[in-house]
């Protein structure tokens, strides 16, 4: 067993510097690396590029880094829930690259899997495809999209072990597995770090080879963005 366990979030984020590119897992506020984000706010790294499907809300998730003006550029598919984001974008303080959600996921996966680029039909004929190579396959048009390059990937899983193996829960899986191994260093935070040998190898979603550092998050707020319920009849 190759040990990936670090003692805390400070150790996990060692080497994080101004100007770096980060990948952050999560869809909305579901499955975001809460502890890594809190530490990034604390360290105060500036001019960073964040690859994340969303930008959090004003006072949680990546919204905290935006409040602090730490983000130079966001690469996301949907940013509708954040007023500060919109303000910074419209005023030109923040650079934004909107990318179709499936393309965003695949640009992570391509980086993980060692593909330099791939063709997708998404965005063909729209402003997303401007300046990009296009090509016809079997009568349909596709856009060439390059893999992402990132310095750190911050992901969040449900359970993990010191070998770096990860298991996700529910829809908090989302982009997290696709970002593992897609950056130079992948930092996984888990709700529960269990002893090596306890996770059933048949049930592991991400093998430890894709993870460089793992730690158990101190606490998880797991804020719900849209609480919708039905009445008992």
């Amino acid at each position: 067993m190759i040990n990936k366990k670090v003692n805390n979030v400070q150790e996990a984020l060692e080497g994080v510097k101004d100007g770096m590119t980060f990948m952050l897992g999560g869809f909305g506020l579901c499955g975001i690396p809460e502890n890594a984000i809190a530490e990034l706010v604390k360290i105060g790294v500036k001019n960073v590029t964040c690859i994340s499907n969303n930008a959090g809300v004003d006072d949680f998730g990546l919204g905290l880094l935006l409040q602090n003006r730490q983000i130079k550029k966001m690469i996301s598919s949907y940013v509708g829930e954040n007023d500060e984001f919109e303000r910074q974008m419209l005023s030109g303080e923040l650079e934004v690259e909107l990318t179709p959600q499936g393309t965003l996921a695949e640009k992570c996966r391509a980086a993980q899997a060692g593909f330099p680029a791939f063709y997708t039909p998404a965005g063909y004929g729209t402003e997303v495809a401007e300046g990009k190579e296009t090509r016809e396959f079997d009568g349909k048009m596709y856009v060439l999209e390059p893999a992402f390059k990132a310095d750190f990937a911050f992901v969040k899983a449900w359970k993990g072990d010191a070998a770096g193996n990860l298991i996700f829960k529910g829809t908090s899986r989302n982009f997290n597995p696709n970002m593992c191994g897609a950056a130079t260093i992948t930092v996984a935070e888990v709700e529960e770090l269990v002893p090596v040998g306890e996770l059933d190898p048949n049930q592991i979603h991400i093998p430890g080879i894709f993870v460089q550092r793992i730690f158990q998050g101190e606490k998880y707020e797991k804020r719900i963005e849209q609480r919708t319920v039905r009445q008992r009849s």
Binding site: F27, G28, L29, C30, Y78, A122, G125
Partner: protein, 217 residues
């Protein structure tokens, strides 16, 4: 004229036994409430769940189980969770049979715009560009006109496009239409709505062939 639930009810008739269906945010979400219960259908949400169920009972919400609208949901027996790349493999790979989504504008050539109003609204496209570029069977659910009373069924879209030449069917508060050969074909009228009213609310080329039946909903 139909309200939002009426549009959803009419679209639900397009959902067939054995279909995997992706529902967009807004009116499309309501479609799930009207699908016949004697057929087998599974709803896919692109954030990573197949076999989506209704909202949870109060007190049973789970922050780790949401839909693409970030709403708390439940799952049906036989449901599965997966990552985002796999989710879009289902979509791009045409394993999802039917995509129902909203739009700001649709053009007679099948173009659709629903993600950006320059200078006003920049929320992003989410999964819409992947969905419209990949699916063979797309139904647009929307109001026939915008809040200013202007037609949303146009000769050409004026807003930034989400996809080109991809829409085949549209269900609005006034009508059911099909796009063929760069024209809107009127298939059905909403209850109490005349062909003339539909014509007046449609900027694009509208083809009316024979007697147009009223929707059966």
């Amino acid at each position: 004229m139909l309200d939002k639930n009426g549009i959803a009810k009419r679209i639900a008739k397009e959902v067939k036994n054995g279909y995997y269906v992706n529902l967009g945010i807004g009116i499309p979400t309501l479609v799930a409430n009207f699908v016949r219960d004697d057929i087998e259908v599974e709803f896919q949400s692109e954030n990573g769940v197949l076999g989506m169920g209704p909202f949870p009972f109060e007190g049973e919400e789970d922050a780790d189980i949401i839909n693409a609208g970030k709403q708390t949901i439940t799952t049906m027996p036989g449901a599965s969770f997966f990552d985002s790349a796999m989710s879009f493999s289902m979509i791009r790979g045409k394993h999802v049979h039917l995509t129902i989504l909203g739009a700001m504008e649709v053009a007679e050539n099948g173009d659709i715009a629903n993600w950006k109003i320059p200078g006003k609204m920049v929320k992003g496209m989410g999964g819409a560009m992947d969905l419209v570029a990949s699916a063979d069977n797309i139904i647009v659910a929307m109001m026939h006109t915008n809040k200013a009373g202007e037609s949303k069924l146009l000769k050409r879209c004026s807003l930034p496009l989400t996809g080109v030449g991809c829409v085949t069917k549209i269900v609005t508060n006034l009508a059911v239409l099909e796009i063929k050969d760069n024209k809107f074909y009127l298939l059905e009228r909403a209850p109490g709505v005349s062909v003339e009213e539909i014509q007046a609310a449609t900027e694009g080329t509208l083809i009316v062939e024979g007697e147009i039946p009223e929707m059966d909903i």
